[in-house]
């Protein structure tokens, strides 16, 4: 989309930014489990930074002499990481005739379109932040893109091709990952799941949410034992995918939730406490410059993903999608 040349615009932003933003966030929360589960934080620039830190490994040789002198250990500085924001919008148009025929109908149509476009925009955001997208700083001819969830995860992974072609970064993921070759694509199995749960736990994270696409949600239900439960479900099997499974233990609860918009070839183990949506501009609608017998509107937001500590999460990639 090009910027209009010499545009003399009549932007009429509605004065309901915060309310609208909350309204949109509340629309269809089922479809966007990632957005519904992670927190939000306001950001003030197109590039926003945060810091990560880790403790030294526990030592079993920490014994010193009585009266011994101290020599300072090396202190590692914190790691500063950053992401950029991305602007997403959904425009729509209402014709002059509809504006004229029935004022109540027109108001209702506006509300309907706002809800509809708001929902579509939210779905776009969900698909974006759960994708493999890497950060693009952007410029006058390239749109800015925020680094998505997958691109941050480098510590706790189970890939079909091991570490080959994996994401690598120091501050912001900008280099895309190479997907495993066909021969290295695996079916999601309990062993893969156990492996990433273990890695996440070893890194100090805690499994709270397993997010999978429809195919792997069904496959998870087929893991040992769980399949037993399903055998009586009969033709309702597919419908059951639209439910969240709750597992409990003394060490915490895990939910398995389906996500229709995330890539099917992946399973995310998330700790929602360690991810946030950075919001530079909350959802807002405004009327755009009129250029014919119709009124143009758009709903827009500017946001970026903050993965507080990538080691708190885990991912299994290169999974079969059918």
């Amino acid at each position: 989309m090009a910027i209009a040349t010499n545009a003399f615009s009549t932007y009429a932003a509605k004065g309901i930014r915060e309310d609208l933003s909350n309204t949109i966030f509340n629309i269809s929360p089922v479809e966007t489990p990632m957005l519904s589960n992670i927190g939000k934080r306001p950001v003030k620039a197109v590039q926003f930074d945060w810091q990560t830190d880790s403790l030294a490994a526990a030592s079993t040789t920490n014994a010193i002499l009585e009266g011994g002198d101290s020599t300072a250990d090396v202190t590692n500085p914190t790691t500063r990481v950053a992401n950029v924001t991305q602007i997403s919008e959904k425009p729509w148009t209402i014709t002059g005739t509809l504006e004229a025929v029935d004022k109540a109908g027109r108001k209702s149509e506006m509300a309907y379109q706002m809800a509809k476009k708001g929902k579509e925009l939210k779905r776009d955001m969900e698909a974006t932040i759960t994708s493999s997208q890497v950060a693009v700083t952007g410029g006058s001819t390239t749109a800015r893109k925020t680094a998505a969830f997958d691109s941050w995860l480098v510590t706790n992974t189970d890939n079909g091709n091991g570490a080959t072609g994996d994401y690598a970064y120091t501050a912001t993921p900008i280099t895309a990952r190479t997907v495993a070759t066909a021969g290295n694509i695996r079916a999601f199995s309990e062993n893969i799941l156990k492996n990433i749960i273990k890695k996440q736990w070893t890194s100090g994270g805690q499994t709270k949410l397993l997010m999978v696409g429809p195919v792997n949600k069904q496959r998870t239900s087929g893991f040992t034992g769980i399949a037993e439960i399903r055998k009586d479900a009969g033709k309702g099997q597919a419908t059951i995918v639209g439910a969240a499974d709750i597992y409990v233990s003394d060490f915490g609860d895990v939910e398995v939730v389906p996500n229709r918009f995330m890539p099917e070839d992946r399973a995310y183990l998330m700790d929602p406490d360690y991810a946030k949506l950075g919001v530079l501009r909350p959802f807002f609608t405004e009327e755009l410059a009129k250029s014919g017998d119709a009124s143009k509107y758009h709903i827009l937001t500017e946001y970026g993903l903050q993965v507080d500590n990538e080691a708190a999460h885990a991912v299994a990639r290169d999974l079969q999608t059918t």
Binding site: A227, A233, Y247
Partner: protein, 110 residues
């Protein structure tokens, strides 16, 4: 209030309806989900467990965690919004509530 079809999601079986307020400026979204299959599956699992055919260690577990409930997506979203899902004590209280027994896949107090 006028009702208008908003969206249908074949994946979750959720239908959404759009209700405009009388002044036309506000709206409410109503989401309905057919939970028959989920409740039936839960009941089957629950009974199977009660009858001892599905022993505790034999399955229905995820890396040592026991499958205790299957909650329809619309109700799960409500629990998420109310903060119950992220609060282990509140979640257990909700799961132990007899009113929510249809969502349980095994008996017992958590």
């Amino acid at each position: 209030m006028s009702r208008r079809f908003f969206d249908y999601d074949p994946f979750t079986g959720i239908t959404e309806w759009f209700h405009a307020t009388d002044d036309g400026e506000g709206f409410t979204l109503e989401a309905t989900q057919d939970i028959t299959a989920i409740v039936d599956a839960n009941k089957a699992a629950f009974n199977e467990f009660s009858s001892g055919r599905d022993s505790f260690g034999d399955g229905a577990t995820l890396n040592g965690k026991s499958h205790v409930a299957r909650i329809p997506a619309v109700i799960h979203a409500k629990l998420t919004r109310e903060g119950i899902i992220r609060d282990p004590v509140a979640l257990k209280r909700w799961l132990n509530d007899p009113d929510n027994a249809v969502f349980r896949t095994r008996p017992g107090v958590l």
